[in-house]
Subunit: 191 residues, 4 copies
Amino acid sequence: MSETKEEILRATYHALCDHGFADLTMQAIADEAGVSKSLLHYHYDTKQDLITSFLGTFTERFEDKLDALDADDPAERLDLIVDRLLFGQDDSDQTDFGRAFLELRAQAPHEPAYRDQLAANEEFLRAVLADTIEDGIEQGVFHDVDPERTARLLRATMDGARSQHITLGDDTREVVRDALDDHVLSDLRVE
Amino acid sequence: MSETKEEILRATYHALCDHGFADLTMQAIADEAGVSKSLLHYHYDTKQDLITSFLGTFTERFEDKLDALDADDPAERLDLIVDRLLFGQDDSDQTDFGRAFLELRAQAPHEPAYRDQLAANEEFLRAVLADTIEDGIEQGVFHDVDPERTARLLRATMDGARSQHITLGDDTREVVRDALDDHVLSDLRVE
Amino acid sequence: MSETKEEILRATYHALCDHGFADLTMQAIADEAGVSKSLLHYHYDTKQDLITSFLGTFTERFEDKLDALDADDPAERLDLIVDRLLFGQDDSDQTDFGRAFLELRAQAPHEPAYRDQLAANEEFLRAVLADTIEDGIEQGVFHDVDPERTARLLRATMDGARSQHITLGDDTREVVRDALDDHVLSDLRVE
Amino acid sequence: MSETKEEILRATYHALCDHGFADLTMQAIADEAGVSKSLLHYHYDTKQDLITSFLGTFTERFEDKLDALDADDPAERLDLIVDRLLFGQDDSDQTDFGRAFLELRAQAPHEPAYRDQLAANEEFLRAVLADTIEDGIEQGVFHDVDPERTARLLRATMDGARSQHITLGDDTREVVRDALDDHVLSDLRVE
DNA sequence: GATGAATGAGAGTTCATTCAT
DNA sequence: AATGAATGAACTCTCATTCAT
């Protein structure tokens, strides 16, 4: 990817943080990137294309970072992943971006291009969880549950907790984390 | 509430179904209601006021319907509620509306009026679940868990499952329902 | 005039003070009068009619107050009138109203009904001045000038000084008053 | 200034002549300039900005034209200036524009940006008059009056005469001019 | 005499997109 | 590759006016 395109996508991220998705304008992105609106259209036909492209590279990098998470054993790795997916990296940018991302997600039903990207990302996350659970089962540290099903349960729970945190401001993530530990993860662990 | 206001809110619902929240216009609502745009402003100062009002009555009615759910014992009632919150009443309108509602929720961080309404509604849902669990404990049909914590876990999971269903199109609700049964609800039941 | 109409015109005065002429709305007048917009239209066909009516009674009362000014001799009376026309009765309401009145005057070229009222009022003011000067000449206390011409000079000067005071905030009225005394009124006085 | 901006300001002038200030719309200006409304907002953020900008360049050019007036001696120059300020250049456009300008002036109390421009312009006119009078005094052709005070008197009178002419249609400017000559200017001239 | 409900026309402003350079 | 100028369509909101009661 050209440097200019990189810069545009970086600017898109920050513009999303500053304005949210609903108020995101091409002008705001151009301003943030220090280029003209026309240049955005030179590199991306439409606003949608730009955002789709942003979404693609963003999820890709996110997936890379998640892959990089490693641990000695499956149980520890699962904990690590759950923490990351539930709490993210809590700097202030990420909070703002979380809001914008939620708005973007809410557009997915109306924008197949977004939906496909998000679906692929979700697929990835489930696979990471399922694989980790499967490893645990193979290594005898987890009971023999259906990995895919458990992964989906975990994803739904974490997703909901984050959404509620973002939309309502009311942080139940710690509590949910504990409850998840008690009800689900402890069921999983052998001894 | 005057008949006209009722009609306007009804029209808002349908306009949301047809256009989604991001593309919801006063014109669309007016058209759906068969009245002029100016009349909307006669009854509601701003678009936001109208939507806030809509949200208020909508959640109120939703809460009434939930309250009406009844069952012989707490376990059955809990099942009923979980089913309702997870699956809704699946007509096609409700699917469309679910999309719009998700968009609206995503605006909550930027619109305190929306957030307050949604927070109150969430509070209600948690209370309904927690109360049911508490009843079960008192009647000896549930183990002695922390009702509030369990309620939050359930809510997060159901919320996430619905969101994923809506945004990704990929329905994991049945699977999540089963997993929830296995991991959480079965933990709850005495015997 | 009915009490209601009186009340409406009184409300128009205060609404003009509060909003200025450009931002004067029927709603503002109705609010100030504590009645409905429709009632304004019941008593006055159009906004213009209402304002024209207001302007008529306002100038009428103003003229009555000016007529009430009296003094022992023409020189003193002239001074009194000049002071009144230049400075008005300087309470804060009158300042606000002065602004609105200036806006209204500026509409006169586009609204014959306003222009006619204002022209009649101006005619009256000139006549009062000219008559006073004429009296002075007859009584031998003023030199034999053209009363009408002098009246017009005085009016133009006073009008301009007030307008500048209102529009620019820069009060030259005292200075103009002195200069007028030196250059014009002293020319007038015998001895 | 870009040609387009020049054209927009030119169009603003003519739109003011055609519609008056109260009825001046962005659409009318755009139509007159043969461009789209959006282009106006591309060059000027708001309607107010556009008008303020118009007012600035208009008064600037007016001041340039006044500066260009020259004469052999101060007395003659004063006459020239008084004539110009009282009568303007009497084409029909200028009559229409005079009306609009009066409306704009009447908005000055509510719009600091306008007031500042107008105040600066008024300051300039007073200075031109005062300077001319001062020159005359130094050259011994005028009596030793207070130049500033006399300038203010002249300005008030001329301003009032023009306002009355515009608002009432009743042209007293010739008469006022004569009276001014008799009472003020003749007082000024040595011999 | 008085009101509330309703309208239509139009206002200023925003924004993704296009095009000539 | 990059820009500035320009557009068209759409948006929310305002307001004098009307009409049924």
